[in-house]
């Protein structure tokens, strides 16, 4: 591996990301999968870094999942997106940041399409007006939320209570980064670091003390792939893709995985349980598997938030071995208590994959 070669590519795919004043739109599914990630994004941006982030309850799905499953006309998706832009315009913002990778790709694709086919934009404006009497300005800037944490990574590092370092050995943690397919594969120039060697998560990992692992199936889909999972008959493809990734990363003995997509952390986390039941195999020497995190969760951990307040008890793969490795304090007895101290009830433990 020639690290300088990657640095050269990274230098060619840098984005001028505005520092402040963002209209934030949530993902359809992240709050179910990793419930504190979006909350922690706003907490860090607003209350730790003092930035202006606005969101509205009127925001809806972007239609991206249906679009990539070929179950919705393109004009419908565009009209939905036009409505989101109208909400941004009405709120007085011009910088638009999406929590979801597919939404981000969807917004970029639609804006680029309108650039090439202005008559289509005109038609969508007509459809939006007919549907809900709204008008919109196109955003000055569209970012993915991980772009912003990347931009603020050094500020977070400066405030960090913990680093991605094994406290027993002093060695940097070995971190696998997984980028959502819709982040930059369609428009490489829109992603930090481009499409082949994205830097957006690598930058966070390096800034927070970890070492990035590059492994042969790094670019491969996590296994979510909408037409793999959402079409029930295709779910075998979903788990086989995830299995392929884990087999490929296994020799590097990663300590953790960080992702920036709604589906990826879910599938990389949950399928480890399914693989362990099907194959009798886990991908860590201690039998606990490889913990998988969103970048907001990792940012929250290094800033010192309580692991249970950021929802890590919702993970399938136990996070405690990693917390111990870093030296993050936590109360095991609080794991299955909600923020209001009510019991979340204890899940049934799997047979093969070890849990705490």
């Amino acid at each position: 591996m020639i690290y300088q070669g990657k640095q050269k590519i990274w230098s060619e795919y840098q984005k001028e990301i505005p520092d402040d004043h963002w209209f934030y739109v949530r993902s359809c599914i992240r709050q179910n999968f990793f419930p504190a990630s979006e909350k922690m994004f706003l907490e860090i941006c607003r209350n730790v870094l003092g930035k202006d982030f606005y969101e509205t309850e009127h925001h809806t799905t972007c239609g991206g999942i249906a679009y990539h499953c070929d179950t919705i006309p393109q004009e419908t998706v565009m009209t939905i997106v036009a409505r989101q832009f109208a909400l941004m315009t009405e709120a007085g913002y011009s910088n638009y940041v999406a929590s979801c990778i597919t939404s981000f790709g969807n917004y970029i694709e639609i804006l680029e399409t309108w650039k090439e086919f202005p008559e289509l934009e005109t038609r969508i404006r007509e459809l939006l007006w007919k549907a809900c009497r709204r008008e919109f300005r196109k955003p000055d800037y569209v970012a993915h939320a991980s772009d912003l944490i990347y931009k603020y990574r050094n500020e977070i590092a400066a405030r960090a209570k913990y680093r991605l370092v094994n406290r027993h050995t002093g060695e940097p943690l070995r971190v696998v980064e997984h980028i959502g397919c819709h982040y930059s594969k369609m428009f490489p120039s829109k992603g930090v670091g481009g499409a082949e060697y994205p830097y957006v998560l690598c930058g966070m990992i390096e800034s927070w003390g970890g070492n990035v692992i590059d492994y042969p199936e790094r670019r491969h889909c996590c296994g979510y792939g909408f037409r793999q999972y959402h079409v029930k008959a295709n779910r075998g493809y979903s788990i086989s893709n995830t299995h392929k990734k884990f087999e490929s990363m296994e020799p590097y003995q990663p300590d953790m995985i960080i992702t920036n997509c709604p589906g990826c952390p879910y599938f990389l986390d949950r399928w480890q349980y399914a693989i362990s039941e099907m194959e009798g195999k886990t991908y860590s020497k201690d039998g606990y598997g490889i913990p998988v995190f969103t970048y907001e969760e990792v940012a929250s951990l290094v800033l010192g938030y309580d692991p249970w307040d950021i929802g890590l008890q919702l993970h399938q793969v136990a996070v405690e071995p990693l917390l111990d490795k870093i030296g993050i304090e936590y109360d095991p007895a609080r794991k299955y208590e909600g923020i209001d101290r009510k019991s979340l009830s204890r899940p049934e433990l799997p047979g093969i994959l070890k849990c705490c």
Binding site: M1, I2, G5, K6, K8, I9, G194, A195, E196, Y197, D214, Y215, P216, E217, R218, R219, P251, Y252
Partner: protein
């Protein structure tokens, strides 16, 4: 008094033209920006399909051009049109008045870094066709020397026939060059498995098809019709190549000790360093635009400016030499017409 003819470029086209012009009684003035003559061929090992040593070809051409005035390490700064001749200003301070200028600036190899998915400059065991030729010529290369070398692959059409790379045209010689390099590798490492990943195999030249058949039959080189989609590195530092075998109708994944990217020919970005009154317009493929690509391929749109070799498009060595001779005949006839 002998007429001056300025030749821009000391590659094989410029050398051949210089020798022929001198033989016809002209005063060729050859300007080469590098410190050596022979262009790309000076770094090449041997030539398809008969494996003739490239250095022998270059030596012969240099010897043939011995009577020419040759400036190496010299660039043409600009060319200005005067009333009945051109003033060619060189970077060494020399100014040459000439009625005829022969442009033989050749090509440059596509920068393989631009095909990021192939990992050139990122993964240690990914090299280019040019890197491999230098190693064949005895220049040590740790990427090859330190490897176990039990398997290697060649990726055809790197930066050619590729709209995404901005070069839709075929680079013409890469197919047969890959066959040649695969055979050379097999001669050095007989036990090695060698794979070629191609879109089409364009074996158009004399004995090329035989050479290609020989690569398969006599050397066991395996040809896979399908483009490489991505390259990565495994924990042992070997390269993992993903491609599609379009004949078998299935994806393939092969782990190799070495991957050679067949960088295609692209136009040289600048014929002269600064702009003078004489410009060199590019054709739609980026190469220099000749007056007529069928009958007047040696002529530019400007009177007294001639072309030879791959400055107007990808060419083989024999084609380049033939075109240099043709350009010399065009120049000679042009001077005769002036008398």
């Amino acid at each position: 008094m002998r007429e001056n003819v300025v030749i821009i470029g000391g590659g094989i086209a410029g050398l051949e033209a210089a020798g022929q012009l001198a033989g016809l009684g002209y005063n060729p003035i050859l300007v080469e920006k590098e410190d050596h003559l022979g262009g790309h061929l000076a770094d090449w090992h041997c030539l398809f399909p008969d494996l003739i040593p490239a250095k022998d070809v270059v030596s012969t051409l240099v010897a043939g051009a011995a009577s020419a005035n040759i400036f190496t390490n010299t660039e043409v700064l600009h060319i200005n049109r005067l009333q009945d001749c051109y003033n060619v200003m060189l970077s060494n301070g020399v100014s040459v008045m000439t009625k005829a200028v022969l442009c033989a600036t050749g090509f440059r190899l596509f920068d393989a870094h631009k095909k990021e998915e192939y990992g050139y400059g990122v993964y240690d065991q990914v090299i280019t066709n040019s890197d491999l030729e230098k190693w064949f010529n005895g220049i040590p290369d740790p990427r090859i020397d330190n490897s176990m070398m039990s398997s290697a692959g060649f990726v055809h059409c790197v930066g050619s026939r590729d709209e995404k790379a901005g070069n839709p045209q075929c680079s013409k010689v890469c197919c047969i060059t890959a066959v040649k390099q695969a055979i050379e590798l097999k001669k050095k490492f007989p036990e090695m498995m060698v794979w070629c990943f191609y879109m089409d195999l364009r074996m158009f030249g004399k004995k090329y098809e035989d050479f290609y058949i020989s690569a398969q039959r006599d050397y066991g080189v395996r040809f896979i019709r399908g483009r490489v989609s991505e390259v990565s590195e495994n924990i042992d530092g070997r390269v993992v190549v993903k491609a599609e075998d379009t004949l078998a109708g299935r994806p393939v994944r092969i782990t190799l000790d070495l991957l050679v990217l067949m960088s295609g020919m692209v136009c040289n970005p600048k014929t002269v360093r600064d702009s003078g009154t004489v410009q060199f317009p590019a054709d739609s493929d980026g190469f220099l635009k000749c007056r007529n690509s069928v009958t007047d391929f040696n002529l530019s749109a400007q009177d007294g400016i001639f072309f030879a070799g791959s400055c107007t498009g990808p060419k083989t060595v024999p084609e380049t030499i033939a075109e240099a001779r043709s350009a010399v005949l065009s120049i000679h006839n042009w001077f005769k017409g002036k008398q």
